[in-house]
């Protein structure tokens, strides 16, 4: 006949076909769990763990992986709709713990973690346990830890006859000495973008004796120590950093170091693998690690938990989910993941095991084992609206990098930060 009628009749067909093809998500199957995560060494290890678990217990665990930014968008959308699509969720502890727990999105695991002495909750490093707890209640199991360290080019240091810097002053001297832009080597590469830099700036802040908040939880980024720290950080980049520093997150900054474009790079130890990968790094043989240098108030780098696993409060299979989580984060499996995937475990026993730590880059293990009171358990402001707070407290650093009035910027930032804190209480 004519096309319109045929077209109208054809309309339901594709939709019907699509429904038939519609994937069955199998939510109600008690022997299937779903864990949502982002790409990381731990997730790599998870893939093996999941196979073993299925063989042993007959429970199939599906892994859904997302990029960092996408993960939060996914959680926000799904959990706002009380999704039961997934049971376990890997989350970025410092960014969302308060937020998610107050939203009642994370199941309270306090009783579960404390009930099994054999599983040993105390084996997890103190800072790691603190990182996933709020007001005495536990909302997740930490699965990775991360510290601020100093990467440097041993070849350049040796050629110039310099010792490894151990204080901020020595660092600046070494950076200045090795700064050679004419030959493509900048003294130092650091994150300079407003929000990303906050976490790396934190260790410098602590080294000068400051913190984002004081003992009462009030904003403290306009103290003399903080201003000194901002100036120090900003001047390093302003004087000896690569061009375009204020647009750099870890992606760009680490690329510069990997490409041989900087003599020093201070950032998270999780990036070590990039520098040791022959297909991704020109500094495989020349990269070396050292402990974060000491400021006037000592060396206080951060030691944080970037990822923890929680149970979706809306999940209908919380007991099974916890059973898997407990098994996956047991001492044995943590050691296994550290050895096979170099996933930096949060358990002290994993690091004490000599065989497991053998796979980790030499030089890093000593730094990590050296976990004592000098490390700080947070690398960003501690409040619910972390994202906004980071924008405020990162501002003075950007001003410093651009050579502006740091004091004024710090005063403004402190006001804004304090308003935010007041808003929340």
């Amino acid at each position: 006949m004519f096309s319109t009628r045929r077209a109208v009749l054809a309309l339901p067909a594709p939709i019907a076909a699509a429904s038939v093809l519609g994937a069955c998500s199998g939510e109600s199957d008690p022997n299937a769990l779903t864990i949502v995560t982002f790409a990381s060494p731990w997730t790599e290890g998870l893939k093996d763990l999941v196979e073993d678990y299925e063989a042993a217990e007959g429970v199939r665990v599906r892994i859904e992986t997302y990029g960092n930014e996408q993960l939060n968008a996914t959680y926000r959308t799904r959990l706002n709709a009380r999704s039961t699509d997934f049971d376990l969720m890997v989350f970025q502890t410092q960014d969302v713990l308060r937020d998610y727990s107050r939203n009642l999105w994370l199941a309270d695991l306090t009783e579960r973690v404390e009930s099994d002495a054999a599983w040993d909750w105390e084996d997890f490093q103190a800072q790691a346990r603190d990182a996933v707890s709020l007001d005495g209640r536990v909302f997740g199991v930490p699965v990775m830890t991360e510290r601020h360290i100093m990467y440097y080019r041993s070849d350049l240091l040796d050629a110039a006859g310099l010792d490894v810097p151990q204080t901020f002053t020595e660092l600046r001297e070494a950076v200045a000495a090795l700064h050679d832009p004419a030959n493509g080597v900048h003294g130092i590469a650091l994150r300079g973008a407003r929000v990303p830099l906050v976490t790396q700036f934190s260790s410098f802040l602590y080294g000068f004796g400051g913190d984002f908040q004081d003992g009462d939880g009030n904003a403290a980024v306009d103290t003399p120590e903080a201003i000194e720290a901002y100036r120090f950080y900003g001047d390093l980049l302003h004087d000896f950093g690569p061009p375009g520093a204020t647009n750099m997150g870890w992606v760009e900054a680490s690329a510069i170091f990997a490409q041989g474009g900087a003599a020093f790079y201070l950032d998270a130890d999780s990036q070590a693998y990039t520098f040791l990968d022959e297909t991704a790094s020109a500094v495989v043989d020349t990269v070396a690690y050292a402990r974060f240098p000491a400021g006037p108030a000592g060396s206080h780098p951060y030691n944080i938990v970037p990822a923890a696993v929680g149970v979706n409060a809306f999940s209908e299979k919380q007991d099974q989910a916890w059973a898997f989580l407990k098994w996956a984060t047991g001492a044995e499996n943590c050691i296994r993941l550290l050895a096979e995937e170099t996933a930096p475990s949060a358990r002290q026993s994993s690091w004490d095991d000599p065989a497991a730590a053998a796979a980790y880059p030499a030089g890093l293990v000593e730094i990590i084992r050296d976990v004592d009171g000098d490390y700080v358990g947070h690398d960003r402001p501690r409040l619910e609206q972390v994202a906004r707070a980071r924008e405020y407290v990162g501002g003075p650093a950007v001003t410093a990098i651009e050579g502006g009035d740091v004091e004024a910027a710090a005063k403004d930032a402190n006001e804004d930060f304090q308003t935010l804190l007041d808003d929340e209480s």
Binding site: T4, L11, N72, N80, R102, R194, P243, G244, A387
Partner: protein, 300 residues
């Protein structure tokens, strides 16, 4: 036979509705809930999770934005600048290229496919590619400039050039779409008016301005409207290259980036919803202006 004729007649009579109803109904159904929900949230102070207790605060959120000279109004300005400049360049270049490719030539199918490619490459990947290419120290753009003896630029990293660089990327990516639409439009233009004018002695420019352009107007408007809407909402390339907040000095923060941050990073749903409604109104106003311009053009 008689039955068929009656059906046909009935279809003919109601054709206007039968043709357009499915499209309109489809959009209405899918849009109703989101718009209603956004409107509702915009008068509350909902934050954190939509399940958390909230209060109605009337126009509080709207007042906040309209009085915000730090983030909102600059974002409006940047959005207007970005959209205006990108649209202008894309239409002009698009038209020029379409005219260039108009006449049949060998390999034209292949050329059109090649031109399509910027559109096809995933925005996220394209964004990261440009990030590398424009990186001041290790990027190809500055290497090429230096090879030509020109000074290195900050491109995306420099707060003064970031937005313009983004316009460049947008133009690179979307001009092909304009070209494609205009090319197809040019192809369906009747030839007599043009021939008649040529016989009368009009030169190429006159023929273009008085014959081709007016005949092409509906298609140009279609392309313009589509591009205006999309350019206003540009997100992927900005987010992939400048990250949160459009950069350390908010130099590339457009309204959509601001709204995304407010909703997904600050989880201020009430505020974000109000912003989105304002954004919506703004686009509608611009579209209405375009439609009025077009009506005036029709009359003349």
């Amino acid at each position: 036979m008689t039955y068929r004729r009656t059906f046909t007649d009935r279809v003919d009579a109601n054709l206007k509705w039968i043709l357009t109803a499915p499209a309109v109904a489809f959009v209405a159904l899918l849009i109703a809930f989101p718009i209603g929900y956004t409107l509702f949230l915009s008068v509350t102070d909902s934050r954190g999770a939509v399940t958390r207790p909230y209060e109605f605060i009337g126009f509080g959120n709207y007042a906040h934005w309209l009085a915000d000279t730090e983030r909102f109004w600059p974002a409006v300005g940047r959005t207007a600048y970005f959209t205006g400049l990108a649209l202008l360049l894309e239409l002009v270049l698009g038209l020029a290229i379409a005219l260039l490719l108009r006449r049949t030539f060998r390999g034209q199918g292949l050329v059109r496919v090649f031109i399509l490619l910027p559109l096809v490459a995933t925005p996220v990947a394209v964004g990261m590619m440009w990030l590398l290419v424009f990186e001041p120290s290790i990027g190809f753009a500055n290497t090429a400039l230096e090879a030509l003896g020109l000074p290195a630029q900050g491109w995306l990293a420099d707060k003064d050039t970031a937005l313009n660089t983004l316009v460049f990327i947008d133009v690179w990516q979307w001009t092909p779409m304009v070209v494609l639409i205009l090319l197809a439009g040019l192809g369906t233009l009747p030839e007599e008016p043009d021939e008649a004018a040529r016989v009368d002695g009009a030169n190429a420019w006159q023929r273009f301005r008085h014959i081709t352009l007016p005949l092409l107007a509906p298609v140009i408007t279609a392309a313009a409207m589509l591009r205006v809407i999309d350019a206003f909402k540009t997100f992927d390339i900005i987010y992939a290259t400048k990250g949160r907040g459009g950069g350390s000095n908010y130099e590339a923060e457009t309204l959509n980036i601001l709204a995304y941050g407010e909703a997904f990073e600050y989880s201020q749903y009430g505020r974000a919803s109000a912003l989105l409604m304002l954004f919506f109104v703004l686009i509608v106003v611009v579209l209405a202006a375009l439609a009025i311009l077009r009506k005036k053009g029709d009359r003349s």
